[in-house]
Symmetry: C2
Subunit: 98 residues, 2 copies
DNA sequence: TTGACATGTCACCGTACGATGTCATATAAA
DNA sequence: TTTATATGACATCGTACGGTGACATGTCAA
């Protein structure tokens, strides 16, 4: 499953937690966070700490893998075709994702 | 590439940034964070905000995919073999990952 | 050498984190 | 009904966030 936002991440965590028959309190104790934190994260909190998120995913048996999507920001940038990244186009793709 | 810690994540971000010939300042401007933030994250900051991390990965053309690793916390938990998750074993797996 | 650039460190500040504990709804079983 | 459980909302508090701007290295080319 691909994830691009905190909302999707929260949904994945919640879904997996339920698969494992854990309630928020049990998961919180396992991960070592407060139940409030679990609630917020499952709701898609964007400012949650990455370390806690990773511990949560780990506890739920969810592996995280990264992959470079084809070209990246502005084209391949192979050694002999170095280009200055086009900041504007990047901003277009990044804009309004708050 | 699999990621389990903020340190590995930071390394991946740094590596990809360099692949794209971006300096920390350019990446910071693209993502909308300070250069200091980029420095800290690349060093493996565990308390960085997940929303900013996701925006950074997105800007770098790094896709994030989640996958449930086989059994998960305490066994399959198929509908007719529901078990109460063994918290102790989970704690064993989660312990000392600070 | 000088100059420009990339990276890292530092102090300051406003803001929000995450923990704790309590209360309010459900929902379901006794 | 009562009881237990699960989820969510709320206030409070100490701590660290992330931004800003300045300064210190290091590297590399002119």
């Amino acid at each position: 499953m691909n994830v691009r936002t905190a909302l999707e991440l929260g949904a994945a965590i919640r879904e997996r937690r339920r698969q494992l028959n854990l309630d928020q309190d049990k998961l919180a104790k396992i991960v070592g966070v407060s139940r409030k934190w679990v609630i917020d994260v499952e709701k898609g909190k964007t400012r949650a700490e990455i370390g806690l998120i990773l511990r949560t995913l780990d506890a739920l048996g969810i592996s995280v893998s990264l992959d470079t999507t084809g070209t990246g920001v502005s084209g391949a940038n192979t050694p002999d075709t170095i280009e200055t990244p086009d900041i504007d186009s990047v901003l277009d793709r990044t804009r309004d994702r708050r």
